[in-house]
Amino acid sequence: MTPEDTKELKELIEFLKENKIGEFDLERGDLKVRIKFAQEPGADLAQLAAALRAAQAANPAPAVLPEVFAAAHVAPSHVASTPAAAAGAPAAGDAGEDATLHVVKSPIVGTFYESPSPGAPAFVKIGDQVENGQILCIIEAMKLMNEIECDAAGEVVKRFVQSGQPVEYGQPLFAVRPR
């Protein structure tokens, strides 16, 4: 590591510590960072943790991965072509978004269509004002076209999927800024 890297890393750690982060992973290109803070030596907590882990003092534990099936939290290869995180953990996936937005999720498994028929204009586009109950899109399942209604009123600010794309249950479709 260059001294510059080290400095940045130190700053990052300081910042994480200030914000009481317990674990932190980052991967970007060939950069991988993994940080896990040790248990705070708060009296009772340390005692309980010790009892729970019965860790061996003689054998310092290596920097460990958080959990066996960390990978399992996101399905191995989602049919949806959106970022797996968005599909696999919709709530978390939207955390980066404005919390005031309302997310319309797919109530069924099927194929998403933005318009009533090929070539026809989309039911809604970004920037449209929509009403409660207004049709936002169609999800085709078993040859049936299911019209998906909006469950909020406001402005469509984002569409998460492409027309023709398969979606699973609970997958975010639109973000609406409620009025």
Binding site: V68, A72, A75, G110
Partner: protein, 452 residues
Amino acid sequence: MFRKVLIANRGEIALRVICACKEMGIRTVAVYSEADRHSLHVRFADEAICIGPPRSAESYLNVPAVISAAEIADVDAIHPGYGLLSENANFAEVCRASNIKFIGPPPDVTRLMGEKEKARQAMKRAKVPILPGSEGVIQTEDEGLEWAKSVGYPVILKASAGGGGRGMRVIRSAQELPALFQAAHMEAANAFGNGDLYMEKFIEQPRHIEFQVLADQHGTVMSIGERECSIQRRHQKLIEEAPSLQVTPKLREEIGKTLKKSLENVGYQNAGTVEFLMDEDGKLYFIEMNTRIQVEHPVTEMVTGLDLVKAQLRIACGEKLASIVPEQPPIRGHAIECRINAEHPEKFTPSAGKITAFNVPGGNGVRVDTAQYAEGVVPPYYDSLIAKLIVHGKDREEAMARMRRALEMFIVQGIHTTIPLHQKIFEDEDFIAGKFDTKFMERFFEKQKKDS
């Protein structure tokens, strides 16, 4: 062979099917409810699709959701596992209509076997022994004496109009028949306003014995040995074995031939299990047929060396049985399975929650089929089966000794399991001696109560 298969199930059987597919180079698609997001069948499938909220009715039993998932994932076939949609003929029909191969028998066969009385009659016509019952009402004591004589004592009188024990009498000899007939008649008349009675053969100590069959799509059926499943609690199997100590090679061959003929007649396809009761004299009576892979299929795999799930896939793909199981597999050694349920070992209350420690036993002759792991969660919505512990030994003694040591080494914490119950059963003298029937667990619990 199939290119891609969707597994319409969860838990250990979903993972079992995924393993078979992986070994055959078939891509797998898992479906899951929101409660199973972190399950191993989701983790190890090539693709995974969330099909609904935790409740089975809205996810795993939701036919449109499953079919829709199969369509968007573009699979060739669906393996239904056991339970859930596995014996749903309508689902099999929808699969067919959607051009997706349902891995199981055709819908009409599933439907036939699903209607118990029709299945009984079909099997009776095909000369499979069924539990004898009088045809219609027994009008008089004399008629009763005659019918009882024809099937042998004991018999049981039942009220045509009712149930719940009213008008019911077990008759163990001709001497006691007249008085009991009158008593039952009076009781039925009083209880249901109808004194009509019918009679059935009564088995004092029935054993539950079932035969595994495989059938290809070209008209060939093969019976591949039996399983002994008498250790049950409230009709839930706890322990299964293969072979049964009660089934001689001769009986096995006889039943095998009869089943081959009868199931070829009904046009059976894929894997199935024919369940029998066995009376004290070793005679078998057909009860019902399960038209799917069974929870306890591994004991048959252990003693025959077959892979039944792979056989299912190959059959469904059109392969002939002659190429999958070229000859009747010999039975080697003895296998036992314990179902490890997330239940309190004494009260049997379900014990959902987070598993904090999970150490599975290994070593020679031990197989564990499970989709659980340390840090895994047992959701409260589904079946309580979390693992199947299967052992194989050169004989029943070695298998039992192996099971004892494997149970001791199977450590699950955070939830209750039936492991301690199994440990006690494997110390029971009658169990060890092979002296049991479907009422074994009742007697076992009484003994336990007395001892404590």
